[in-house]
């Protein structure tokens, strides 16, 4: 079996190393994901461990030292005195308590005398915008995929396919800006909506980001349908439309489902577009022409300035965890359930 002992051993060592190196890289990326997971959850955890609102040290109530007040002009001194008075009278910022009741309320007012961390409007907002985006994007993307992989002449396909895929690399800020400036005005003129920025505008803009993802994966799925199936259908006298709709599309269904689910995941996690185009008002309504505030936009907008370690900070991480779990579940379902179960079904298993 072995012609040269030395040669084989040497070969084995390098192969062994290469193999382990690749395995290590794979495990490293896996470990990084786990670590992110752990970090996000750890930061959200204090909400559940301490429910009593923080009490402030008496010492903190004492005057803050000032410097250079004497340099103020007369008018400024007057204003400073007024402001000090107002500040003393105003409700001090308190660390809110994130009880379950507070988290399940319908008000999102995190910077307040009595902070309200109602997550429901944010969850409804995310679902609403994602639903609009996927309802617009999925049919378009699937039909486009069907066209390019079955009907389009080779030259058309060579232009169309990369063009749609380039959309995937489009910076979401640019799409958001386009929605904010152009699309919002267009939609308002068209439908006469009361709010210029609303869930619908955000959903339409978001669908631009979702289309290339759904398209790419759906196209792969359709292209993977065995030639023998389509050829058999054509040979039996079916037209190419009949073949595409009743043979190719059903055979590719598992892959298309996976594509749609990944599209939903993308829509759910997208931040910049919704931050710019949806108006960001935490309203608990199901009307698509009302402004909405999504979970991802909330994190994007508020994280930079939150007091570190504050309840608000922890709640933002809780939202992050919810987003994480949601997209993780979607991807897992797309990967395991649909690929395996439906593949077996369609392969006649």
């Amino acid at each position: 079996m072995r012609s040269s002992d030395l040669y084989t051993r040497k070969f084995h060592v390098s192969e062994f190393l290469a193999e382990k190196l690749i395995a290590a890289t794979a495990f490293l990326s896996f470990a990084v994901i786990i670590l992110i997971f752990v970090f996000v959850f750890r930061e959200a955890l204090p909400i559940f461990s301490s429910s009593e609102p923080a009490t402030h040290d008496e010492a903190v109530q004492e005057e803050v030292e000032t410097y250079g007040e004497e340099a103020l002009g007369e008018a400024s001194q007057l204003r400073a005195a007024e402001e000090k008075e107002r500040r003393a009278g105003s409700i001090e910022h308190v660390e809110g308590n994130a009880s379950l009741r507070n988290l399940l309320s319908t008000d999102w007012q995190p910077v307040s005398g009595e902070p309200k961390f109602g997550l429901l409007p944010l969850i409804v907002g995310s679902l609403k915008v994602s639903l609009i985006a996927i309802l617009l994007a999925a049919p378009l993307a699937i039909l486009a995929a069907l066209y390019t992989s079955t009907f389009a002449p080779k030259r058309v396909k060579e232009i169309l396919k990369p063009a749609i895929e380039i959309l995937a690399g489009f910076p979401s800020v640019v799409i958001g800006f386009f929605a904010l400036i152009v699309l919002a005005t267009f939609v308002q003129d068209l439908f006469g909506t009361m709010y210029r920025l609303n869930a619908f505008v955000g959903g339409v803009a978001l669908s631009l980001a979702v289309i290339p993802i759904v398209y790419t994966i759906a196209e792969d799925a359709i292209a993977a349908v065995p030639k023998s199936m389509t050829e058999a259908s054509l040979a039996l006298g079916a037209t190419s439309w009949q073949t595409a709709l009743f043979v190719t599309l059903p055979a590719a269904t598992p892959g298309i489902f996976a594509a749609v689910l990944l599209g939903v995941g993308r829509a759910f996690g997208e931040t910049m577009i919704v931050l710019m185009a949806t108006g960001n008002a935490a309203l608990m309504t199901f009307n698509v022409t009302d402004p909405v505030r999504t979970m991802s936009a909330t994190i994007g907008a508020e994280m930079a300035e939150v007091v570190f370690g504050d309840t608000h900070y922890n709640v933002l991480f809780l939202i992050g965890s919810i987003l994480f779990i949601f997209t993780f579940t979607l991807n897992a379902v797309a990967e395991f359930y649909i690929r395996r179960r439906l593949l077996r079904k369609f392969r006649g298993g």
């Binding site: 903190v60 000032t66 250079g68 002009g73 008018a75 400024s76 409700i91 710019m276 930079a304 007091v307």
Partner: protein, 274 residues
């Protein structure tokens, strides 16, 4: 051998002078970042021995950096919160030192097609609390008022909430947008919109004149009215340090508060302290 020794001595001297370069780090408010950069530029051109590094990131980010000890001076467009002071006290046993560095006038904008020219502070409050919902109630057309605000991470949001809304919550249908430019843009495109923020000279919007109360005069947010305090919506821009400033930091802060430093304020579009 000689030249090498000479060279070594020279390089040691050079290194020593480089070390002697004092570095002051300034971090915080995005509202103030342009102003802080200009201050640093002008000051450094006159004091070659001091290097001032300015970064933005937001008032909260700057205060966190002050608490973590990663910045010497923090810029903030809002006063420090109690919880932040408490954290600073835990770390450095100091409540921090507050320096009022400049003044800023906030404006309320409406679309230029809106016939409303002036409002009282009371009316602005009721509009943002959702108690006044139609422009007709404040002398305008029959139309729903569409509210635009900054995001709640902004010092401007906090100022407006504490001082105009008396600490109450904004109406839930208030749309929040990232940055003054986005608010100005939204109001310029929405003829029933109202927004607030720093002075802006965008097309399509008008800055309203404000009245402190029903009986007082309405003042537009001009430089003169902000400086004199007649315009009712002005705020301070702050700098915070951990302890009473000494050495080069003191020299820098004193310079900012001097007439020379304050003249820079005006060139950026904010208002001097006196």
């Amino acid at each position: 051998m000689r030249p090498i020794i000479h060279f070594l001595t020279l390089s040691i001297v050079a290194a020593a002078t480089m070390v002697a370069q004092e570095v002051i780090t300034v971090k915080g408010s995005d509202t103030m970042v342009l102003l802080a950069q200009r201050w640093a530029e002008v000051y450094m051109s006159k004091h070659q021995d001091v290097t001032i590094q300015v970064t933005g990131g937001g008032s909260g980010t700057g205060i966190s950096a002050l608490i973590n000890g990663t910045t010497d001076i923090c810029n903030s467009s809002r006063p420090m919160k109690t919880s932040e002071k408490q954290k600073l006290k835990q770390r450095f046993n100091s409540l921090g030192v507050e320096i009022k560095a400049a003044k800023d006038g906030l404006s309320v904008y409406v679309n230029e097609a809106n016939p409303v020219k002036e409002l009282t502070i009371e009316q602005v409050r009721k509009i943002y609390l959702g108690e006044i919902t139609n422009w007709k109630q404040v002398g305008g057309d029959e139309a729903r008022i569409i509210l635009y605000s900054r995001e709640n991470n902004s010092g401007t949001y906090v100022y407006f909430k504490d001082n105009i809304l008396e600490g109450k919550d904004y109406a839930p249908n208030t749309q929040s947008l990232p940055g003054t430019a986005a608010v100005v843009n939204a109001v310029s495109k929405d003829k029933n919109g109202i927004g607030y923020g720093g002075a802006a000279y965008g097309r399509g919007i008008r800055e309203l004149a404000l009245k402190a109360d029903e009986s007082s005069m309405a003042y537009p947010p001009t430089a003169e009215n902000v400086r004199s305090g007649a315009y009712p919506m002005t705020r301070f821009l702050y700098m915070y340090v951990r302890t009473r400033p000494t050495g080069s930091a003191k020299a820098y802060i004193d310079w900012i508060l001097s007439d020379e430093g304050q003249s820079v304020v005006q060139s950026i579009g904010y208002f001097p302290l006196r």
